[in-house]
């Protein structure tokens, strides 16, 4: 037992960590982790500062649109404190045991932390999510406020990204637009995973007739170009955020195929055969044995699908079937901006960049996850 790990030192460091997350790590010389905690702390402190500055911290009595962000901010603080504390304790124990036995996920996370692509992607997504959660604190005003006198004003100190054709602040709309982008992209993808995953699991596990039926359904839906299918259905139900989520969620069935093939390969493995031999119920086999093995590819597909969904929504907005105005969405902003391309470039450039960077983030994360999760790669 080294000097650092005697009981007093451990208690002292843990207390330090409770005082200020990351301090305990730094005292122990784990600079990277400690500074990372400090970075988080600084970001959240900044957010808190902005919230107080703009008077938008709201308790139960405040305007309802600020509740969510306020609650999340304090939740984040709590999580950061606890996380730093428990992480320190775990790390101390781990360094004590000198264990070399590593689980699959530990290997994965080790590999991941060494892959710059994945870190960049994760960073981009984290920032976008963070902005989405705390949008009211970051935004200068709100995304809807019009100024019909100073419309189309170029970027200035007060409006760093300029004003659009209704005199709305482009930066504010971009900030609130993160919510729409992630909302549609994320929720639709969750639905994709649910429906697609379900069909894929059923088809792959049971094979035979259910599989044939499911595969034909998939082929029917896949054979029409996705955009055309969505266009048909959106013009059926009328555009809008709910329609978009449901349509993208139900008809984006690509995950089904991938999961099916994964399940097909897994179900022939010895341990599944063994589980069946001892008479384990089917549902249990699926949940306990098949699903965890398919998770890796599920994760990759999920990340990429979010990016695809954001792009599809932008395309639909371009064709006039996006979210309903005046809701701020990047795709709709881009669509509105194209007419102003030559007269107000700021309207077009910034939302465009946001889409590109965000989708890029999801894609590069997916790419990296594929490498990292691939069990064959060394």
């Amino acid at each position: 037992m080294t000097k650092n790990n005697d009981r007093n030192a451990v208690v002292r460091d843990c207390l330090l960590s409770l005082l200020l997350p990351g301090l305990g790590h730094i005292v122990r010389g784990w600079w990277r982790k400690g500074l990372l905690f400090w970075l988080f702390l600084a970001a959240m402190g900044g957010t808190l500062y902005l919230a107080v500055l703009r008077g938008r911290l709201a308790w139960l009595a405040g305007p309802s649109e600020y509740w969510f962000s306020t609650t999340m901010l304090f939740l984040f603080f709590a999580i950061l404190w606890l996380w730093a504390f428990f992480d320190l304790r775990r790390s101390i124990r781990a360094s004590d045991e000198k264990s070399f036995v590593q689980g699959y996920w530990q290997i994965v996370s080790r590999r991941f932390s060494k892959d710059p692509k994945g870190l960049v992607g994760l960073g981009i997504i984290a920032i976008v999510c963070y902005v989405a959660i705390f949008a009211p604190f970051f935004a200068h005003g709100n995304a809807l406020k019009m100024d019909l006198v100073n419309f189309l004003a170029p970027p200035s100190a007060q409006h760093p990204l300029g004003l659009d054709n209704f005199g709305r602040d482009v930066l504010d709309r971009i900030i609130f637009g993160t919510r729409v982008a992630l909302g549609i992209g994320g929720v639709a993808t969750l639905l994709n995973m649910f429906f697609g995953g379900f069909l894929g699991l059923i088809g792959g596990y049971f094979r035979g007739v259910p599989d044939a039926v499911i595969m034909r359904i998939l082929e029917i839906v896949n054979s029409i170009p996705f955009l055309v299918l969505v266009l048909l259905i959106v013009s059926l139900w009328g555009a809008g955020i709910t329609t978009l989520i449901v349509v993208l969620g139900i008809f984006g069935l690509q995950p089904a195929r991938i999961i099916r093939s994964e399940v097909l390969s897994v179900r022939e493995e010895d341990y599944i055969l063994a589980a069946r031999a001892v008479g384990a119920p089917t549902l249990r086999i699926i949940l306990r044995h098949v699903l965890p093995n398919a998770i890796a590819s599920l994760l990759v597909v999920t990340t990429m699908t979010i990016g695809v969904n954001i792009i599809v929504v932008a395309g639909l907005s371009f064709l006039g079937f996006g979210v309903r105005p005046p809701m701020p969405s990047w795709g709709a902003m881009l669509q509105e901006a194209q007419e102003f391309m030559r007269s107000a470039w700021w309207m077009a450039v910034y939302p465009g960049l946001c889409i590109i960077i965000t989708v890029f983030g999801f894609n590069i994360l997916g790419d990296s996850l594929r490498d990292v999760l691939d069990p064959r790669l060394k």
């Binding site: 809807l144 019009m146 019909l148 006198v149 419309f151 189309l152 054709n165 209704f166 005199g167 013009s235 009328g238 555009a239 809008g240 006039g320 309903r324 105005p325 005046p326 809701m327 509105e336 194209q338 007419e339 102003f340 391309m341 030559r342 007269s343 107000a344």
Partner: protein, 538 residues
């Protein structure tokens, strides 16, 4: 919208024989003969047969391929001779006799005679043919051939006299024998007219080519070829104009006007159009049938600022009544003086009052419906934002024509159109107030399934005034104007029929190499007519 139908009925207000001396096309000295003009058009073409054509964009082609019975003066919009060299209106207004020019030949060499003229009109009004243009001839009984070059058009008794006019531009004259031979479908694809340019080819979605009609009866057309290219994306079309890829664009948004005005290669042409676009209410159910709701909505929006931000004072002006500013009986001064100003406090008070009475139900949400058109979507967005600020949860739903018309016209299944409280639509008509107020605000036009009066506004007094104005004996314009003014004041000042509106200013970009190209209020594109003969630099 830009109304799909070009129903340019012409006011033939003068009774008795009208004979105008031979038309003289102003010859520009130094006009160059030859060359090609390419026109960028913002919609894909559908029909080439003038009898069924109902889109302004198809009208561009039809204008050059066919001759009209009478043409319109570009300044006054009064009828001037074209195929008809003179006409005579009966004293009681029950019929009109047209005397045709002789020696007009269709592109296939046949003569244009009274038979063709009568055939054209009778075909349109025959219900069996289902022509969408039949509405404009509701008043017409039939067209009768008197001799080879004389034709008589007879009114229905209940439409005698029919003051707004008896000639519609959608009635370009088609050759009877050729039409019967080809059948309507084929004629729609390969139209044969008597106009200055001949139809050559129609490459699906890509372009339509016309070439000079060497034997044009009126004058020798200057251009060798005209190419019409549909370019569905407005941003693309503006880039094309900037790059010089097209010579004419049929539409230019406000934000590009100043830029192109400064560009020496481009001439921006503008003319106030005969259009009325409006944010309107559904008057058939609560809460929008309650005048306090309508008033509160009107008070919520600074209409001047809204319209200025969209048109920048360049491509549209605010409307106070339905009659376009370019037309008589618009009563603008009075209507402007009594127009309601923005007053958010009063609006909120009214909304609260309605909420307290339960007329605005709890959790009330409304959707403002508009077509897939940037201008009207922008207007709807401003209205929705302002309503949100005053405590009415409003969102905008741009829809394509199919579902939009379903909603506004209603169906037997949903006769109340429960979903619609506020919507943005538009109308374009001919040079007579009747074309606007009759279709949009009378009970006769509030018919489930095809309503032109899609706001379901109904006031017997307005109905009476409008009908009376259309059939004033002798068609005295002063009398008619007084009636329209009164009807308009009832609808817009007393009943607050609409929330706000604008008249579009037709704006087109033309390269400087194109000469003698002029716009008229109907939005026609004419390259060779009794008034102009477009030419280009070598």
């Amino acid at each position: 919208m830009r109304r799909a139908v070009v129903l340019a009925s012409v006011a033939l207000l003068v009774f008795g024989l009208v004979v105008i001396a031979e038309t003289n096309i102003p010859e520009t000295p130094g006009a160059h003969v030859g060359g090609t003009v390419t026109v960028g058009v913002s919609q894909t073409f559908i029909d080439m047969d003038p009898r069924v054509m109902n889109s302004v964009y198809d009208g561009y082609i039809v204008d050059s391929v066919f001759d009209d019975l009478v043409s319109l003066d570009q300044e006054t919009l009064a009828p001037i001779p074209c195929v008809a060299k003179a006409w005579e209106v009966a004293e009681d207004g029950s019929e009109t006799t047209f005397y045709l020019n002789e020696g007009i030949k269709f592109h296939n060499g046949e003569d244009l005679t009274a038979e063709d003229v009568a055939y054209t009109f009778n075909w349109i009004i025959d219900p069996a043919n289902g022509s969408p243009n039949a509405t404009e001839y509701e008043w017409m009984q039939e067209a009768v051939v008197i001799d080879d070059y004389t034709v008589k058009i007879i009114n229905k008794p209940e439409w005698t006299p029919y003051c707004p006019g008896i000639v519609s531009e959608s009635a370009s004259i088609v050759p009877m024998d050729t039409c019967e031979e080809m059948g309507p479908e084929q004629f729609n694809l390969t139209p044969v007219g008597s106009g200055p340019y001949k139809f050559v080819e129609w490459l699906a979605s890509d372009h339509i080519t016309l070439e000079r009609n060497e034997d044009y009866w009126l004058v020798y057309p200057n251009l060798d070829k005209i190419i019409f290219r549909p370019i569905p994306n407005l941003a693309t079309m503006m880039l094309e104009l900037e790059a010089g890829g097209v010579d004419v664009v049929d539409m230019m948004p406000a934000q590009d006007v100043a830029r192109f005005q400064a560009d020496p290669n481009v001439v921006v042409q503008q003319v106030p159009s005969l259009t009325y676009f409006h944010v309107s209410f559904n008057h058939s159910h609560l809460p929008s049938s309650d005048i306090r709701f309508r008033k509160a909505c009107i008070l919520s929006v600074d209409a001047d600022a809204a319209i200025f931000s969209i048109f920048q004072g360049l491509t549209g002006i605010r409307a106070y009544g339905v009659t376009p500013a370019a037309l008589w009986a618009n009563d603008r001064e009075y209507l402007q003086s009594v127009a309601l100003e923005e007053d958010d406090a009063e609006a909120v008070r009214l909304f609260n009052e309605l909420k307290a009475e339960g007329i605005i139900p709890e959790g009330f949400e409304t959707t403002i419906y508009c077509p897939l058109d940037p201008r009207r979507t922008q207007l709807a967005t401003i209205v929705a934002t302002n309503l949100q600020e005053n405590g009415i949860n409003a969102q905008v739903q741009p829809l394509d024509w199919g579902p939009l018309l379903d909603l506004l016209y209603r169906s037997e299944a949903d006769p109340l159109g429960e979903d619609v409280e506020i919507f943005v639509m538009g109308w374009s008509g001919g040079p007579d107030p009747d074309n606007f107020i009759y279709y949009l605000y009378t009970t006769e036009n509030a018919v489930i399934g095809t309503a032109n009066n899609y706001s379901w506004y109904s006031n017997p007094e307005v109905d009476r005034l409008v009908k009376e104005a259309a059939t004033v004996p002798g068609c005295d314009q002063t009398t008619r104007e007084a009636l329209y003014v009164e009807a308009q004041r009832i609808a817009f000042v007393e009943d607050l029929a609409d929330m706000m509106g604008y008249h579009y200013i037709e704006t087109q970009g033309v390269l400087a190499r194109v000469h003698d190209y002029t716009l008229n209020a109907l939005g026609d594109i004419e390259f060779c007519s009794p008034q102009c003969n477009v030419w280009v630099d070598e």
